[in-house]
C-alpha cells in the first residue's frame, strides 16, 4: 500500500533502455550464424536497428528460443503471413528492448503444406497472432495450444487473405 501514494515517475525504475552491453547488429548476426549455420541465410541490415534474416522452418522454434534466451529478444511484435507465388512466407518481427533492435525473421513454407512450428510457447503474445494467421491465411502452426478461427465465424470455409479467394459465399 506504500506504492499507492508513490508518485509515478521514471526515476528509480529499472530502465529497459540499453546499457553498456549493447549487442550490435553484427553480434546478433554472428551469434545466429554460429548457432544455426545451415538454416539462417540472407542476413541484411535494413536500416539502423532493423535487421532481416531468413530461416528454414525446421529450425524456427529452436532459433526463437535462442533469440529469447541468449540474445534478449523478449518481445514478439508481429506475425504476418504473406502469400507469394508457390510459397507462403511467415514474417516474425521480434524486438529486443534492451538492445533496441528489431529482427525481421522470415521463414518460408510451401503452398501444399503450409505449416510452421508454433512459437506461442516461447512468446505468449504469439498465441492469438498465430491463430489470426491461421484464420485469415490458413497456415497451420504445429503444437499450438488452441488453433481455431478467431476473427471469422467458426464454420467459415475459406481463408480470405489468400489471393485465390474471391468474395466467399
Amino acid at each position: 500500500m506504500e506504492e499507492r501514494g508513490k508518485r509515478s515517475s521514471a526515476e528509480g525504475m529499472e530502465s529497459a533502455v540499453g546499457g553498456a552491453d549493447d549487442v550490435s547488429e553484427e553480434k546478433v548476426f554472428r551469434a545466429l550464424l554460429d548457432s544455426f549455420p545451415a538454416t539462417v541465410t540472407d542476413f541484411k541490415k535494413l536500416r539502423a536497428g532493423v535487421l532481416r534474416a531468413r530461416i528454414d522452418r525446421r529450425d524456427l522454434h529452436g532459433a526463437c528460443v535462442f533469440l529469447r534466451d541468449s540474445l534478449g529478444f523478449e518481445h514478439i511484435s508481429m506475425i504476418s503471413a504473406v502469400e507469394y507465388e508457390g510459397r507462403f512466407e511467415v514474417v516474425y518481427h521480434v524486438a529486443s528492448w534492451k538492445h533496441r533492435l528489431l529482427l525481421e525473421l522470415i521463414t518460408t513454407t510451401p503452398k501444399d503444406d503450409p505449416s510452421v512450428d508454433s512459437v506461442s510457447s516461447v512468446w505468449g503474445g504469439a498465441n492469438w497472432q498465430e491463430r489470426e494467421a491461421y484464420d485469415l491465411m490458413g497456415i497451420r502452426f504445429n503444437n499450438h495450444p488452441k488453433l481455431e478461427r478467431i476473427l471469422l465465424p467458426k464454420d467459415y470455409l475459406y481463408h480470405p487473405l489468400r489471393k485465390d479467394f474471391k468474395g466467399g459465399d
Binding site: 471469422l152 465465424p153 475459406y158 480470405p160 479467394f165 468474395g167 466467399g168
Partner: protein, 160 residues
C-alpha cells in the same frame, strides 16, 4: 392485450394525440456501440450536444428501448445477434441507420465479412449519412424521427 379490448380502443380514440406526443418525446435508443459512430453517439449525450434535452436516454437492454441505433458495419458474425436484438425490442420500435457503414457498408461494402447495409435484414426508418455522422446530425435524425412518428398519427395502437 390493451389494444384489443374495448377499453383500449376507447382510450386510444380519446387520447390518441396525447399518446403520440408522449411516444415521440421520449425516445430511448439502445446503448449499442459498433464503431466510430458509437463515439459520436456518446458525444451526442455529452454536455456539448446533450440529446437529453429531447428526452433521448440510452438504455442498455433492448427490452426498454424504442430505437435500435445501428452505428457501424454489421459483420456476418454479428448479423444474427443484431436481428435478435431487434426482435427483443417491444413494439413500437424504429431503426436508425447511422453512418455510412450501417447504410451501405461504407468503406467496407466490398468486404467478405460485412453485410452491405443494415436494411438488408432490418427495416430502417431513418438514414443518417456521415462518416461518422456528427452528433448534431444524430440529433437532427432524432428530430426527423419525431416528425415521422407525428405523421404516422399513431396513438396507443402503435406499431407498423
Amino acid at each position: 392485450m390493451l389494444k384489443r379490448s374495448p377499453v383500449g380502443s376507447g382510450l386510444d380514440w380519446l387520447l390518441k394525440d396525447f399518446f403520440n406526443w408522449a411516444t415521440r418525446n421520449s425516445i430511448y435508443p439502445l446503448h449499442f456501440g459498433i464503431m466510430c459512430c458509437a463515439l459520436e453517439m456518446a458525444v451526442a449525450s455529452a454536455p456539448r450536444f446533450d440529446a437529453q434535452r429531447f428526452g433521448v436516454i440510452y438504455r442498455s437492454t433492448p427490452r426498454q428501448c424504442d430505437v435500435l441505433l445501428v452505428n457501424g458495419p454489421v459483420s456476418k458474425k454479428l448479423k444474427p445477434d443484431l436481428r435478435r436484438l431487434y426482435d427483443q425490442m417491444p413494439e413500437p420500435k424504429w431503426v436508425i441507420a447511422m453512418g455510412e457503414c450501417a447504410i451501405s457498408g461504407g468503406p467496407f461494402w466490398q468486404s467478405y465479412s460485412i453485410v452491405p447495409g443494415v436494411n438488408q435484414f432490418i427495416p430502417v426508418d431513418i438514414y443518417i449519412p456521415g462518416c461518422p455522422a456528427r452528433p448534431e446530425a444524430l440529433i437532427d435524425g432524432f428530430i426527423k424521427l419525431q416528425n415521422l412518428i407525428k405523421e404516422n398519427k399513431k396513438g396507443l395502437l402503435t406499431g407498423k
